[in-house]
């Protein structure tokens, strides 16, 4: 039976002292992804903002295993959020959420 395989990507803002709402960062990533690959490409990537209990100073995004590079490219293209110049760094990529959180600690 077909089972979708995912990758979990941990993203953090640079500079660290700038604090944004997670939804604003998510919007910026989604906008860039749609510009980069279009609606069909977006569907292939299938990004999803993971909500986790643990307090991390970044975002965890889930995407399809084969399209992780597309998502990372879209993340790298983000250069401003709410008019402020920032960079988004991909800090970790992992196959399971549990392993990702473990690696981050």
């Amino acid at each position: 039976m077909f089972r979708a395989k995912y990758r979990y990507v941990f993203v953090r803002c640079f500079p660290r002292d700038v604090k944004f709402d997670k939804s604003e960062i998510w919007k910026a990533i989604i906008s860039n992804l749609q510009y980069l690959v279009g609606t069909l490409g977006y569907a292939d990537v299938n990004p999803y903002l993971v909500k986790i209990q643990k307090d991390l100073d970044g975002l965890v995004i889930r995407c399809n295993l084969k399209q992780v590079r597309t998502l990372v490219a879209a993340i790298a293209l983000v250069n401003n959020i709410e008019g402020e110049r920032v960079a988004l760094d991909v800090k970790k990529v992992s196959g399971t959420l549990k392993a990702l959180v473990k690696k981050l600690n």
């Binding site: 597309t70 990372v72 490219a73 293209l77 250069n79 920032v86 960079a87």
Partner: protein, 223 residues
């Protein structure tokens, strides 16, 4: 195969303070060497103040060329004093000369200059092409042109270098992110990694050897 050493082939800090911040960020992102477009004095100061980051720093000069004579003059003037000589072409005729001249290290294609690449240029190309990440980040329309260049180069398996061309730490990105952008533009992932590691490192190794006198001619080393 050993671990790759990633090189950011072009940063252009406006002053020493920003340059130090950029070195720190590059070290955090996982680069092992930086090529800095700056004066010789500032590079020496930078080298002494950023030893703790373990980065190798190289000097670079970028020349904007309109004609053949601009390129020949620049090659004669700067070749023996800088580690890397890059020509940013403003016209097609200048691009054709720069792509062939053995003294030029890379030919930069930027949106404010000449950014059309055709099959004739592809056939005479000897030097690697350099594309800048900052152009993609700041201007989305450039993506389309860059994709055309990358696809043409990918068909012939020629060399390409992808550098950040950053003037502040916010414009710098990690090697994995940068190679993912190249991958999305149409280059296969191994070649994308080569564009940030093997190709620039070979140029730097060759030029350092020439400047220190270890390499007399291409392929002739003093041992």
């Amino acid at each position: 195969m050993g671990k790759r050493n990633f090189i950011d082939f072009w940063i252009r800090p406006p002053d020493l303070k920003v340059a130090m911040e950029m070195c720190k960020r590059a070290s955090d992102l996982g680069y092992s060497a930086l090529v800095v477009e700056t004066s010789k004095n500032m590079l020496e100061e930078l080298k002494s103040s950023t030893k703790e980051y373990g980065l190798e720093l190289y000097s670079k000069v970028v020349v904007s060329a309109k004609s053949r004579s601009d390129i020949l003059k620049a090659a004669a003037k700067f070749r023996h004093s800088y580690d890397v000589l890059t020509v940013s072409c403003l016209t097609r005729s200048a691009a054709l000369v720069a792509l062939r001249d053995g003294r030029i290290d890379t030919v930069a294609f930027r949106p404010n200059g000449f950014m059309n690449f055709d099959r004739h240029m592809l056939s005479v190309m000897r030097n690697p092409i350099e594309l800048a990440l900052v152009d993609v980040i700041s201007d989305r329309v450039v993506l389309q042109k860059m994709r055309g260049i990358v696809r043409l180069i990918a068909t012939k398996n020629l060399s390409i270098i992808f550098s950040s061309c950053a003037s502040s730490p916010v414009e710098q990105r990690g090697p994995f992110e940068t190679s993912c952008i190249l991958n999305v533009l149409g280059l296969n992932f191994e070649c994308s990694l080569d564009a940030l590691s093997t190709i620039p490192s070979n140029i730097l190794l060759r030029n350092r050897a020439k400047l220190t006198g270890k390499m007399v001619q291409d392929g002739v080393w003093l041992v």
